[in-house]
Structure formats: C-alpha cells, structure tokens
C-alpha cells in the first residue's frame, strides 16, 4: 500500500499576523504543518502501520519548508518529496502533485480539508480531477476493508457514510485521528530519512495576489447590564437592525 500525504507549511495558528504594505509580515513567525494536514498525516501513519505500507509526504515549497517536512518525517512518514517551487496558487500546487502522483501510482492520497493560510479548499479536488480519481471531502473517518475504504463525510446538518474503492483522494478533518507529537526516536530518525528535492513542471499562472489587508475592525464593544436585558433586545432591533 503506497500512501501519499500532502502537507502545507503555514504560520502557527496562534500567531497574530501583521500586514505591511499589503503583504503578510511573516518575520519571526513560526511555521507548522497546517492543522487539517496534521490530521491527514496522523491517519496516514496509522494506515501505513496497519497495511505495512509506505508513506511519503509531499510539499510544494522553497527550501524554508524543510523543517516542516522533517517534522512530518518525525511523526512517521517514511520519506519525503519537496517540489522546489514557490506554491503560486492551488492550480500550480495541484499540477505539481498530480505530476508526481502520475508516476508513483499511490493507492491513497490524503490531504487536509484546506490550508490554513490561503483557505482555498481546492488542491484535493484539482488533483483528483487531474488524475481522474474520486475525491472525498471533508473526510472525518477512514477505515480500509481490503481494497475499499469506508468513510464518514461531513454534510450540512449531519454526516454520511460512503464507500469507495482505491485509489482515491481525500481531504481530511478531525476526528479522523488524533494529532501525533513526534517522539525522540522519531526526531532522530527523521534526520536521516530520504528527502528528495525535485524541480517543478511548468504551469501557466491564472491568478495573482494583489494585496492582503486586515479585515475591517469592529468598533468597541457596547456593554449592557445583565439586569437590563431589554436594552440588548432594543439595540439589536433598533441600532444593529438584525432582529
């Protein structure tokens, strides 16, 4: 069983990101595996162990993402690929992943539901379409039964149980697995696990980010006394006009 997990390298979710001249100022901000990708990775490690298979992690990024890739190796991936390119947009990233997957014929490609920086929620669907594979998003549970996966998928107001034969792509979210913290042995062995750097395939760019801004700030909070609840109702109706 060959499993691929794609990870994005994103600012720590606790970080407050300042924006300077329309660009995020990422100086001094620590980077992590995006939270949803961490769920995908954790389940991929479990499935690799169950099937005695092989797990590869893949990132499209410049050399500064290597510590994040090493962390995924420490968590349990067997080897890694970095496509040496700035991840221009989702289509660019998906084209790189698809190019590698076409050669490698993975049985299972697990990704996060969405990256936590650009929040596109697109790469999995694009890769699936490029490879002609089914895509299950958001996947909350994934069990293998031979060649078939049984999954729980979130839908509005509930969930559904779906079945699909390998190979396929899934975009994962909790509670698919518990996030794994690397242990000392993992950290040591990660240093020597293979990390292959490959050059990107050429892809046309369809998008360009012009600028980032902070979302509009709320004016300061109006406090209402707990013994004067009627006032809140009045303000919601007359001032905010939302009732």
């Amino acid at each position: 069983m060959k499993i691929l997990t794609c990870i994005s390298h994103v600012p720590d979710t606790n970080a407050k990101i300042p924006f300077k001249d329309g660009q995020p100022d990422l100086n001094g901000i620590s980077f992590v595996i995006a939270p949803y990708d961490d769920f995908a990775l954790a389940r991929a490690v479990e499935l690799r162990d169950q099937t005695k298979g092989k797990l590869t992690v893949l990132n499209v990024g410049l050399a500064d993402t290597e510590p994040t890739i090493r962390k995924a190796l420490a968590i349990g991936a067997d080897d890694a690929i970095r496509v040496n390119a700035h991840p221009h947009d989702a289509f660019y990233v998906a084209s790189q992943i698809a190019a590698i997957a076409k050669q490698e014929n993975y049985d299972l490609i697990l990704m996060g539901r969405e990256s936590s920086d650009f929040n596109g929620g697109q790469v999995h669907g694009m890769v699936a379409e490029m490879l002609g594979l089914p895509c299950v998003v958001p996947c909350m549970k994934l069990d293998l039964n031979g060649n078939v996966a049984v999954m729980q998928r979130e839908i509005e107001g509930g969930k559904e149980i779906v079945e699909v034969a390998l190979p396929f792509v899934a975009g994962c979210q909790e509670p698919i697995a518990e996030w794994k913290i690397p242990n000392m042995r993992g950290i040591m062995s990660a240093k020597t696990k293979p990390l292959k750097v490959v050059e990107p395939v050429a892809v046309e760019n369809y998008t360009r980010i012009i600028k980032y801004e902070m979302p509009p700030q709320r004016s300061s909070v109006k406090m209402i006394d707990k013994d004067n609840i009627g006032e809140l109702v009045r303000l919601l109706r007359e001032e905010a006009k939302v009732l």
Partner: protein, 317 residues
C-alpha cells in the same frame, strides 16, 4: 463571452437561501459584463420553485431532470452548462458539495478559481475579487486572468436583490457519469436550520458545563429562528454533534447575528465567526477575550442571562 452561470442547490424542493444570494450575485456580475445570468439546477429543485430564480435575477434557468449528489456529478453538470452558455464566470454559493465541485469545475474549464469570495468583483482593472484568507485574519484581493473564472461566494457577499425578469425555464440535458463514491447511509438532523445558511446563530462553549444544559440554548435558538453552534472542545467531548463546531477547524459562518455564550474567544474560534455582521457575547468573566471582538456584551452567568434574554425576546418578537 460575457454570460454568468450560477449553480443553484435546493433543500426540500426550494432553492437554498445561499443559492438565491448566488443568483443575485451572478446577476450583478452579468450586468457588469453586459451578459445574461443563467442558473442551472438539478432535480433537487422542484419545477414549481425553478421559476422563483427569475425574481432574484436569473434571465434563464436550465433545469436538469436528474439528481447530482456527489461533487464530481455537480462539476460535470455545471461544466456542461457553462460550455453551452459560453459562460465567462461561474458562481456557486459555499456549501459542502459545491465546495467539492468548484476545484473540479476549475480544471474542466481551465478556469481560475477563487473561494471564500466576500464581495462583488472589481472590473476597473482586470477582474479582481476580494476573498477571506488566513482563516479570517485577513482579506485579500486576487486578480484572476484566465478566460473563465469560477467564484465560490460566502454568505452575505452581496445579499439578495429583487428583480422583475420574465420567467424562462428550459430543460437541460447532460451526460453525467455516476460517481464512484457510494453513499451507504445519511444521518441528518431533520427540521433543523442548517448552520451555514442561518441568519442567526446561537453558539455555546465549555462555560455551559455539560450537554444537559443545552436546553436553554435550543430554546433561545427556537425563539430567534436560529441555528445552534458550539466551540471545538464541546464537540470534542461529544456534548454536541461535530457538524455544529465552528472555528478554524470547523465550519466558518458569517450570519447577521452571532451569539457566543460561555465561549472564551480563542483566536481559533474567532477565525470561524469573525465575519459575522453583529456579535453578542455573554460571559461571566469580564476579562474574556471574546469581548474585544464583540459588538454587544453582557457580563453574567449564562444560566441566569440566557433564560431572561429568551423571555425578553419572546415578548418583543
């Protein structure tokens, strides 16, 4: 090439409110481009309801007789309709199935894709969309420069608008290959207001102490016609179902009114709710960080404040 194609999803036979917003959004873009707004819907939209789309701005409705349940099927339907109509822009409302279809539509039509779009595009210099990024911590302007553009819009990106257009429903045929995904079972709470669709959301956190205390939250939601939501630890502990969990790792909502009751206001929670129009926070701790991101706040014990608020609302509404 200046037409706009809008994918419409339905619930119980009628178009979802978010899809009606998408129709009005698409009609506004079509006006900017000097083209027509064409809606496409499958059989989940009943024939009686198809005509209603004209009121929200559709010049024409393509009605497909079959059903499309999986994202790949939606993608095939929408791509076929977009090709027939020579659409320059495809619009969908954010929903779990449409979100899955959008990237596939992008690849099929060799289109650029923008998700989480929060406003009408700016056409003064190319085609520039505004979208939410960094999980609500930023908004970003992205220029799209392929011939075809696919936009997935967030709730309240433009709102609905009333139009006075004649009704024009055409039946539409497309060859949709059956999805390789088999649905074995659907577990859905019926009669509930869907969280991403709701205008008002009543959300509660760990401050409520236990699942047995959600009665007053459900009562309040009922009075307001609101959906219920919760913080992550609450769904992690199974006090509430997972599909109610909002935030960075849950559902992102942008209702008109969001009540946060017994929720501290962690950055990851705010990420999913801070694009709500108006936020009301009820917390017993005056130092709770959520007050800094609220419009209205009440310091008090939820067990005392919520029932009183419910009574006051019942009397007023």
């Amino acid at each position: 090439m200046s037409n706009v194609l809008i994918y419409v999803e339905a619930e119980n036979g009628a178009a979802k409110k978010s899809s009606l917003e998408a129709v009005s959004y698409g009609a506004a873009v079509a006006e900017m481009l000097g083209g027509k707004a064409v809606a496409v819907a499958a059989a989940d939209l009943s024939a009686d309801h198809a005509g209603e789309l004209a009121k929200f701005g559709a010049d024409k409705v393509l009605h497909f007789g079959g059903t499309v349940n999986q994202s790949s099927e939606i993608a095939e339907l929408v791509a076929a309709a977009a090709q027939q109509e020579n659409a320059a822009v495809v619009v969908t409302a954010k929903s779990i199935n449409a979100d899955g279809a959008v990237p596939m539509i992008g690849v099929k039509l060799k289109a650029s894709v923008a998700t989480n779009v929060t406003a009408l595009p700016d056409l003064s210099n190319g085609f520039v969309v505004t979208r939410a990024a960094y999980t609500g911590k930023a908004i970003t302007q992205v220029s799209l420069h392929s011939n075809v553009k696919v936009l997935s819009i967030k709730k309240n990106a433009s709102g609905t608008k009333e139009y006075n257009k004649p009704l024009a429903v055409e039946s539409f045929n497309a060859n949709i290959s059956a999805s390789k995904i088999t649905v074995k079972e659907v577990k859905k709470q019926t009669g509930e207001i869907l969280l991403p669709e709701a205008d008002i959301v009543v959300s509660a956190g760990r401050g409520l102490k236990g699942p047995e205390n959600w009665g007053m939250i459900e009562e309040l939601a009922k009075t307001l016609g609101a959906a219920t939501a919760c913080s992550k630890p609450v769904s992690d502990m199974d006090w509430r179902p997972h599909h109610e969990h909002v935030g960075q790792t849950g559902i992102k909502v942008s209702p008109n009114l969001y009540f946060a009751i017994g929720i501290s206001g962690a950055i990851q929670h705010l990420a999913g709710v801070n694009s709500s129009k108006v936020i009301v926070v009820i917390n017993k701790d005056p130092e709770a960080p959520f007050f800094k991101s609220a419009d209205y706040g009440i310091v008090g014990d939820a067990f005392e404040v919520v029932p009183k608020l419910n009574e006051a609302l019942k009397a007023a509404l």
